[in-house]
Symmetry: C2
Subunit: 179 residues, 2 copies
């Protein structure tokens, strides 16, 4: 920590009794709502889980989704994200119940990397499906023989779940960089 | 600027004449290669520019690209990214020539936000085109009547340019969070 004060005499002992050898490692992360272990963080995770499950259900119950690679990929990506979000929601809920802090650099690193990878996969799947849905509905006008509405709903839900993952990723990445 | 020296007597006036009231704002950012104003940063920008221009050229010279929304969107996205990367490459080159530092918080914020938006647009366009290209080539086997190779090349170049933007974004975001 940079200390603007200048001590020509013996400096007084620090209030919280910490030693001064490695101050940046001792700094506790700030308790920002939306980070792991906070109620807002848990709400974000539950939001992600709900939207990915809706997207997965809508896409997986469409009869002809296995014929298109991008739709199969969407099912895989949102399936993976639902598992990830559910696991972290359970960890958050547990941490809130026992009132333990999850703001530990190693954990935040894992969360930031995991969120980064999972959100990129979901976004890529949603974009690929959006491209194909627009191709079918606007460019080819083949909605009569395809389940355009179901494809659109699944794609929209995947985008919403990506929007819900992004704040988690940014909070974790930011707190990782600013610790 | 942080000064390790301790002055028990009257401190000498600062060289650059700044006042000492807000020390954390005066801390100079570290000179990490890849950040704006460094040779590696300039190389990254030039890389981005070259790959987006190749992608743009390949896609725009394909006769039937305007019939597919995702391909038109790719042209728009990589066009925008080529302009952005070229502008920042020119600023970097100028800063290197006159040996001026670009590590200023306001500038880094603009760079981080711009890189974040532009890279997301390019990635979305590349994913949408990849979804359609895979649909045409693998799922429908219609490569005989479509320019599959050109679409694939343009998509691949867009992905490579996204890979080249990501480090710039991460460097800027990281240095913004850790200042």
């Amino acid at each position: 920590m940079s200390r603007p004060a200048v001590h020509p005499v013996e400096p007084p002992p620090l209030i919280d009794g910490r030693n001064d050898e490695a101050p940046p490692r001792r700094v506790r992360m700030k308790d920002v709502q939306g980070m792991p272990g906070t109620p807002a963080g848990l709400a974000l995770r539950l939001c992600q889980f709900i939207f990915t499950v809706i997207s997965l259900t809508v896409m997986a119950t469409t009869s002809d989704f296995p014929s298109v690679t991008a739709f199969r990929y969407l099912v895989a990506a949102v399936g993976l994200q639902s598992l990830w979000s559910l696991s972290l929601a359970m960890i958050d809920a547990y941490a809130l119940c026992v009132k333990r802090s999850l703001r530990n650099p190693a954990l935040i690193t894992i969360y930031a990397i995991g969120d980064g990878i999972i959100s990129t996969l979901t976004f890529a799947a949603a974009c690929a499906c959006a491209g194909i849905t627009v191709l079918i509905s606007n460019d080819l006008n083949r909605c009569d023989i395809n389940h355009c509405k179901r494809f659109m709903s699944a794609t929209a839900m995947a985008f919403i779940s990506w929007f819900a993952v992004s704040p988690s990723f940014f909070f974790n990445f930011w707190s990782l960089a600013s610790r």
